[in-house]
């Protein structure tokens, strides 16, 4: 799977339990494209901008040929100037438009941090609610085929830190469409971090427009023994890990956060209350990242429910290496999740044993 090409060859895990023939299965990129197509046709204030949104590959297919349907005024290529163009998108949003600004990779958002962090995220609060910034910024986390240190950064931890930004990380084709439509309809700046590996998937997507509430997660697989919390592509890994673990008789619950800000605390804490054990898994770095934040949340608000330490599965704290042997060592996934769960569930047996002997 060379770098520039990604093919939707896999069926995503059957999260929605849709196996019937009448269910429409489409590739991940098409789900996003359909959301944009519908948003553009339903609201004249929506527009799509970004480097290469009108090029022959159409942003991994997500914006393919939309410029032909809606014209180059509403779907336009931009100069590289990421900070300036983000400010321009912010200004357009202040002026009543609903821009959707596409970037290939989150790494490039680092050039726009001034406008994202100092401006977009502050405007509503800093002016006592007088102005809205309905802006969507989209970027796709890279992975594989030597993407290396500057084309693969999973920067959700950085963006999650900023009050005033909403942070959305879809895991399924269904969500890629529904969350895009919700993000465009939201009156606040929303960052959507996609993951390259999701673009390998096909899945169930209804044709009509629909929205998924921002700030609510979803249980992808109910379970009793342990909670695995993940977002974006890591949900697939977590789900497959849970299936693997069920062979050992371990019944894991899998939470897909869908949005990291606002975070669905209730869903997390309710699940932890039930299971008492947690693995938090993420596609990003460990230190100061989202696994750290969610673990802290559970320690603060759900400590009494915990029957074992929280374990985290994340990338080691180094830049992404290019070489494939190193890359393989860098990324965590199903294997690390299964290992972490097994550690905790052993821990459970010991705890139960102790309880029994105490009786």
């Amino acid at each position: 799977m060379p770098w520039s090409k990604i093919k939707p060859e896999l069926n995503e895990p059957d999260f929605n339990n849709v196996t019937g023939k009448d269910k429409r299965i489409i590739p991940y990129a098409d789900a996003i494209r359909e959301a944009l197509d519908q948003a553009l046709s339903l609201d004249a204030n929506v527009f799509v901008m970004g480097q290469g949104v009108d090029d022959p590959s159409g942003m991994f297919g997500a914006t393919l040929n939309l410029h032909e349907k809606y014209g180059k005024k509403r779907v336009f290529d931009t100069p590289l100037a990421e900070n300036g163009l983000t400010g321009i998108a912010v200004g357009a949003a202040i002026g009543g438009m609903r821009p959707v600004y596409f970037h290939n990779r989150p790494d490039f958002l680092l050039l726009a941090m001034d406008q994202i962090v100092n401006h977009a995220s502050k405007w509503h609060y800093m002016f006592g609610g007088a102005v809205n910034v309905p802006l969507v910024i989209w970027a796709c986390i890279g992975r594989g085929w030597g993407s290396a240190a500057q084309h693969s950064q999973a920067l959700q931890g950085l963006f999650m830190h900023i009050p005033g930004l909403k942070l959305v990380m879809p895991a399924t084709c269904y969500d890629a469409k529904g969350l895009m439509l919700s993000s465009i309809a939201d009156n606040n700046p929303v960052i959507i971090l996609e993951h390259r590996y999701n673009f390998r998937h096909k899945g169930f997507v209804p044709k009509e427009p629909y929205r998924i509430p921002i700030g609510k997660g979803i249980i992808r697989k109910p379970g009793e023994d342990i909670t695995i919390i993940a977002a974006s592509y890591m949900v697939s890994e977590a789900y497959n890990a849970a299936l693997e673990l069920s062979k050992d008789g371990i019944d894991a619950e899998v939470i897909d956060l869908r949005t990291l800000r606002p975070l669905d605390e209730e869903l997390i804490l309710t699940s932890v209350k039930k299971t008492g054990r947690v693995v938090v898994a993420d596609t990003g770095w460990k230190t100061g990242g989202i696994t750290a934040e969610i673990s802290a949340l559970i320690a603060e608000k759900g400590f009494a429910s915990l029957r074992a330490p929280i374990l985290r599965v994340a990338c080691p704290d180094v830049p992404t290496p290019a070489g494939y042997t190193l890359e393989e060592a860098f990324y965590a996934g199903i294997l690390e999740i299964v290992t972490a769960v097994r550690k905790l569930v052993k821990c459970k047996e010991r705890a139960d044993a102790k309880k029994i002997t105490l009786k």
């Binding site: 300036g84 912010v90 001034d114 609060y125 609610g129």
Partner: protein
């Protein structure tokens, strides 16, 4: 260009009002009741007034940390400005912004940034919104020579030219970024040395002469309204007060008292007043009447601010997100 007496008096009144507001803020600042950093625009009033006199309520402006003049010249509410300096709930930003973050959406002031240069792309983006919505408005971006050092200026102008946006860049060259002279930071004599005039209407004017600013801005605004794209006007001026806070900073020694004195003698408000008097367009009595009106309005604004409630700590989370 011929100006009606009414226009001339209006320009004078607006400058005088901004000046007197600044002087009142300055005179009370030591009491430490306005707990917010202030950046006075004393000596730069002609730019805000000369530009905004060409705008209507629906035109946008983008401003900066030194934004009291822009806000008032565009028609922003004086009471809400002073209340914001007193960090009151009745302030234009409900006490969330302070002196550097003013807003009055009812007159097209959509919020000022204290990140130097931050308002340049956002103001350009507001012009993009105007352009896409096919509105007959313009967007004016006020920024200083420090902001001209920032890359977003190049990025924004380039985009504005490509899209022929109705945006007017008003470069207030007051010659300093804090204590650093523009000549130490800018390669060219004028900042648009990099932008050829065939791509954009450019002009340099004496920023202390309100009629010069007015005329240049008028041309730029007309061009923008006619779909002829962006303009860039450099207004040469000088910051006579210290960078922040009240009073002179002559004692710091980065510039001479003579230099400051020279520019004080070119005061845009006094010099214009003298001209009006000389031409018999205004009388001392009329000036006194104006002053009285302005003083009363300022008294009232300060009273309003001081008597207004402070925001309550328990409401700190309010306004994080819009519904």
């Amino acid at each position: 260009m011929k100006f009606s007496q009414e226009t001339l008096l209006r320009l004078y009144y607006d400058m005088f009002r901004i000046r007197k507001t600044q002087l009142r803020i300055e005179s009370l600042y030591h009491l430490d009741e306005m707990k917010t950093p202030i950046h006075l625009c004393i000596g730069q009033e002609a730019i805000a007034v000369g530009v905004c006199a060409n705008l209507n309520k629906y035109d946008y402006i983008s401003s900066s940390h030194r934004g009291h003049g822009h806000y008032l010249a565009k028609g922003g509410d004086l009471k809400k400005l002073i209340a914001e300096l007193y960090c009151r709930e009745t302030g234009c930003s409900k006490g969330h912004g302070g002196s550097m973050h003013l807003v009055d959406t009812s007159i097209g002031h959509m919020g000022s940034s204290s990140i130097v240069g931050g308002g340049i792309p956002t103001g350009t983006g507001m012009a993009l919104a105007i352009h896409m919505k096919k509105q007959n408005c313009v967007s004016v971006v006020f920024f200083g020579d420090g902001a001209a050092d920032e890359g977003v200026l190049y990025e924004s102008i380039n985009f504005a030219i490509i899209k022929k946006l109705p945006v007017i860049y008003i470069y207030e060259n007051n010659q300093f970024s804090v204590c650093s002279r523009v000549s130490a930071r800018q390669a060219g004599e004028v900042v648009f040395h990099a932008v050829a005039p065939e791509y954009m209407f450019t002009k340099t004017v004496d920023g202390n002469t309100v009629l010069e600013v007015y005329e240049a801005a008028r041309e730029a605004v007309l061009r923008a309204r006619n779909g002829q794209g962006p303009s860039f006007i450099e207004c040469k001026t000088y910051r006579v007060r210290g960078h922040a806070g009240a009073g002179s900073d002559a004692k710091l020694g980065y510039r001479s008292a003579e230099e400051i004195g020279f520019w004080e003698s070119k005061c845009p408000v006094t010099v214009f007043c003298e001209e009006l008097l000389k031409k018999g367009l205004i009388t001392q009595n009329e000036i006194q009447d104006m002053e009285q009106d302005i003083d009363l309005e300022i008294d009232e604004a300060f009273r309003f601010a001081q008597e207004s409630p402070l925001p309550k700590g328990e409401h700190i989370l309010q306004y994080l997100f819009s519904e």
